[in-house]
């Protein structure tokens, strides 16, 4: 039997995330440049595949058929794959899953995976209004459900009611993520830290969330290179970081189909992680560093539970205990996560992947000692689906 090909992540980079004076195609170029800064010698001609993950490209940049636009601006000439895909907040992680399959099958050798969003418009109302399109338009959106805070606020209420989670425990998530995100040069809210007091006294967004419980809407772009082992060795001397296993699980879109007993239970994440761990031949105990989707502080708490890093219902106490810090049981979001780095939907997955790549190669700013296995996770929109990717210093045998 032929040796199965392995897919690796070589490196990557992001544009500055934030409220940007830039077009989506400008930021795509910035991300590509940042990627090349991370992989010296990388040339457009090295790349045979392009996947660009973007949700807002069509509405806010009138760039529906985005992939060829990116090809033109980056001087690419892909021959194996050239597509835009959209899974909202999981965009570039979905693209990484696709790239992994294409590389392992031999269809592609070197894939440029990108994510990009242009969210800010000349008038604020349009940004909020467009968010109606990320939910089930004729049903939940018509109830006024647009930007996610009200939905996740109800999730927080349920978790507080069922498991006794407190606002102070939730604040530990943002305080910890700010500790690390302050040093990410491209982070939306980089360059500052946060105290529990500041978090608890911040202005209310949607009860029980204050300002720092919520990730911002951000413009931005990110880029990573997913390649075959052979091509990766030719491109970089760094230790190889393998894509070991992935899982992506969806159960519904509209609220009537919510799969959990209540909003506080996310069985669809549990299932996605089971699939990813099985494919990676690992368990949560093996993971040394994680990037979980901290769109809101409560999200990180629930994700740590459903991913198996702590017991169901104990997420609040877990994060408050310091378990998510660099020296804790499961260092999480060591570059600031969505809360601090920002969240241009399609770009976040690749941004997470870059940090895991650096952690496993021993070159992260906030380095976890001896990190061998890492994990990235995104939910999509109002928690409609979950995407999990597991990385390791060794391939699956």
């Amino acid at each position: 039997m032929a040796q199965k090909k392995n897919a690796v992540i070589v490196g990557g980079g992001t544009s500055k995330f934030g409220v940007r004076q830039a077009h989506i195609l400008d930021m795509v170029q910035e991300a590509a440049r940042a990627c090349a800064n991370d992989i010296p010698g990388l040339k457009p001609t090295d790349i045979d595949g392009l996947i660009i993950a973007s949700t807002m490209a069509g509405r806010h940049s009138s760039a529906l058929n985005t992939a060829p636009l990116v090809v033109h601006r980056l001087g690419l000439k892909p021959t194996s794959i050239c597509i835009r895909l959209d899974t909202l907040c999981a965009g570039s992680n979905s693209a990484i899953i696709v790239a992994k399959g294409l590389v392992e099958s031999g269809i592609s050798e070197v894939v440029l995976v990108m994510g990009a969003e242009k969210v800010y418009m000349p008038q604020r109302w349009e940004t909020n209004y467009t968010q109606l399109a990320v939910n089930d338009h004729d049903w939940d959106s018509a109830m006024g459900l647009g930007v996610p805070p009200p939905f996740f606020a109800m999730i927080a209420r349920m978790h507080m009611k069922r498991y006794g989670t407190t606002k102070e425990q939730m604040a530990h998530v943002s305080v910890t993520n700010y500790t690390y995100g302050t040093d990410s040069p491209n982070a939306h809210f980089g360059g500052r830290t946060l105290t529990i007091k500041e978090a608890l006294e911040a202005r209310l967004i949607a009860d029980p969330f204050g300002l720092y419980d919520c990730c911002p809407l951000s413009d931005g772009a990110s880029a990573v290179i997913i390649a075959s082992e052979e091509r990766a060795k030719a491109m970089s001397n760094r230790p190889l970081v393998y894509l070991r296993g992935t899982g992506q699980h969806a159960t519904h879109s509209m609220s009537a189909g919510w799969p959990g007993e209540t909003l506080a239970e996310w069985p669809h994440l549990k299932k996605a992680s089971e699939v990813a761990f099985k494919n990676a031949q690992l368990t949560s105990k093996d993971i040394d560093v994680a990037q979980t989707h901290d769109c809101f502080t409560i999200s990180e708490i629930i994700e740590l539970e459903e991913l198996g890093f702590c017991k169901k219902g104990e997420g609040g106490a877990f994060v408050a205990s310091g378990a998510i810090k660099i020296d804790g049981k499961i260092p999480t979001n060591t570059d600031g996560g969505l809360l601090v780095y920002g969240h241009p939907f399609g770009a976040s997955g690749a941004r997470q992947a870059i940090e895991i790549c650096k952690q496993l190669q021993g070159r992260a700013i906030h380095q976890v000692k001896d990190a061998k296995f890492g994990l990235t996770h995104n939910l999509s929109g109002t928690c409609a689906q979950h995407t999990v990717v597991v990385y390791g210093r060794e391939p699956v045998k």
Binding site: G146, P149, M154, A256, L263
Partner: protein, 170 residues
């Protein structure tokens, strides 16, 4: 070189009094655009309905064209309960989408029905802070802006309706 004249028009001229489908926040309810239009006809008659599979008995919400359980096409319309209980509630002050007034009150509801164990519902006809977890709410319908539809050389106007929930007076 001619000096550039400052334009007096702000915005997009084509949008004056023009219906833009892409910006429409309400569903296209007429039979020209969907096969579940009886749902909206039933709303107009004050009824909250959905489809039930005649083959396997599964009831699903929203109404569909094939059964999501067994993919059968033989579906029938059935009524849903019009009262629900508030499980969680949230009031948004800032960032309510255009067309929705602040505070926008959204609740996670549960009905005494297998197809509606969970449902997001907007709460209207209620003051800020009035509705609490555990309260009962009831289904209510209202008119929303009509949309035009070109039919051959003519344009017909489709009146539209939608639904939300209001507190049941204690």
């Amino acid at each position: 070189m001619t000096e550039l004249q400052k334009s007096e028009i702000v915005g997009t001229p084509a949008l004056n009094n023009v219906y833009i489908g892409e910006m429409d926040m309400w569903p296209l309810e007429s039979p020209e655009f969907n096969r579940i239009y009886p749902f909206y006809d039933n709303l107009r008659a004050g009824k909250f309905t959905t489809t039930k599979c005649k083959k396997c008995g599964h009831i699903t919400f929203p109404p569909q064209v094939i059964c999501p359980k067994c993919w059968a096409e033989e579906l029938e319309w059935v009524e849903l309960p019009q009262k629900a209980k508030v499980v969680a509630i949230t009031e948004t002050q800032a960032g309510a989408p255009l067309g929705f007034e602040s505070p926008l009150i959204i609740a996670w509801l549960t009905f005494d029905h297998p197809a509606l164990k969970h449902l997001i519902g907007r709460i209207i006809h209620a003051k800020e802070g009035e509705v609490k977890e555990g309260d009962e709410v009831k289904f209510v319908t209202f008119s929303v802006p009509a949309n035009p539809v070109e039919v051959k050389k003519d344009t017909k106007i489709c009146d539209r309706v939608f639904y939300a929930f209001e507190p049941v007076k204690k």
